[in-house]
Assembly symmetry: C2
Homo-oligomer: 228 residues x 2
């Protein structure tokens, strides 16, 4: 489904030069449930941005269902980002002047769904992550963990085939974090959704089936989680 | 040093009404090292904002060194916020158009320190938290954990008497998180700095000396951490 071949990423704007990823090979099959771990600054978010077509490699190739992403048109890329992939950002990236409900509804607009249907799907997603009682709050009126869950709801509401979640439980107590990983396990098991999460929590990582480790922009380990 | 008496906080703007804290009694002596835990949405950040004089209680009293904060002048409050308390925000709150170094230097301007001294203190704080190699990066050019550490550096650079850290290790791998808690332990032990951290990580909480637990805006537990 997703394949990175010799992928590198160098950030070079405004005089800085940082090799955030180097020589990354990664193959993810449809229906996998895996975790990416590694020290702060090791390139995990950079990797997720490439997988989510939010940025392009500086070198190497990214094949999405066998097609080189560099050869896709802007329309095709937009369709992938808006309909096929649900992205949970490490810093949430919610619209500050929209309510929780509006934030979750917005990506559904791209699907051409009628307003009543969008509202229903958005409401359901917010209830599933436990913030159904905060629909009318704007981000500044939400706790950190509530904002994080709105970001998760936004990623799942449109039923994407792939969920990319960048540290989705970092601001959550362990019980709420447990509910989120259970949600990922459920959509993976019942709907075949491919789930890739970045996490710093080994406990959360072991609730997936494979752990890929980065260090200084390289993959240094990639193995299945042993059956419990 | 810090005392909350019957403190409540209701958020009531734009038609919403949320009782985020109710009937909170809390006494913190100078030199303590303690953790605040509780479910997402239970009122921890609200409590920290009150302790840091960033907001006022809706009911009850907050005594800071025996003085009712409600009776302090704006100048006195500003002096407390800028010089006596270092605050690490859950969502970092870095200035997007300033570099890491500039972000850490800014609070030191209020102390009337000369530029060379500010630069030295800021650089040292950034090195201590391990982002000395990212001084010229702006927040958008930093990883999530690097942004979090810049926020920590900003809070400690001016040697405040009290550090309030709202989930300071949520975006950090365990080894980097270990370095941060070790830093808090060190300034507490060697400089007598009072440190209050919100954390969702029981392991990090047990590296402090007392754990206060919130649930639905109330303190439901408050006890020392047993000696290891
Ligand atoms: N400005 C506001 N207006 C209305 N409600 C608010 C506002 N800020 C926070 N709240 C609500 O108050 C409650 C407590 O928020 P707070 O940020 O203190 O929680 P928290 O314990 O820090 O949670 P987390 O662990 O998720 O960061 C939450 O349910 C939140 O929705
Ligand atoms: N736009 C940018 N310009 C320059 N350097 C950048 C930029 N974005 C990220 N970096 C650097 O690239 C490296 C990798 O960043 P990335 O965000 O992928 O790390 P990460 O593994 O997600 O870290 P964390 O666990 O702290 O979130 C970091 O050292 C960071 O400073
Ligand atoms: Mg990251
Ligand atoms: Mg909070």
């Amino acid at each position: 489904l997703l394949e990175l071949q010799g992928v590198g990423k160098v950030y070079g704007e405004s005089g800085l030069s940082v090799a955030a990823l180097r020589g990354v090979d990664l193959r993810v099959e449809a229906g996998e449930l895996l975790s990416i771990m590694g020290p702060s600054g090791s390139g995990k978010s950079t990797l997720m941005n490439l997988l989510g077509c939010l940025d392009r490699p500086s070198e190497g190739r990214y094949l999405l269902e066998g097609r080189d992403v560099a050869l896709l048109t802007d329309n095709e890329l937009a369709e992938i980002r808006n309909r096929r992939i649900g992205f949970v950002f490490q810093t949430f990236n919610l619209l500050p002047r929209s309510t929780a409900l509006e934030n979750v509804e917005l990506p559904l607009v791209y699907r051409g769904l009628p307003a009543a249907e969008r509202r229903r799907l958005a409401r359901e997603a917010l209830e599933v992550v436990g913030v159904g009682h905060r629909l009318t709050h704007r981000p500044a009126q939400l706790s950190g963990g509530e904002q994080q869950r709105v970001a998760i709801a936004r990623a799942i509401a449109g039923n994407p085939g792939v969920i990319l979640a960048d540290e989705p439980t970092g601001n959550l107590d362990s019980r709420t974090g447990e509910e989120i990983i259970a949600l990922f396990q459920r959509v993976n098991r019942e709907l075949g959704v491919t789930v890739i999460q970045v996490t710093h929590d080994l406990h959360r990582a072991r609730q997936t089936r494979r752990i890929v480790r980065l260090r200084d922009g390289r993959v240094v380990d990639d193995r299945p989680v042993p059956e419990a």
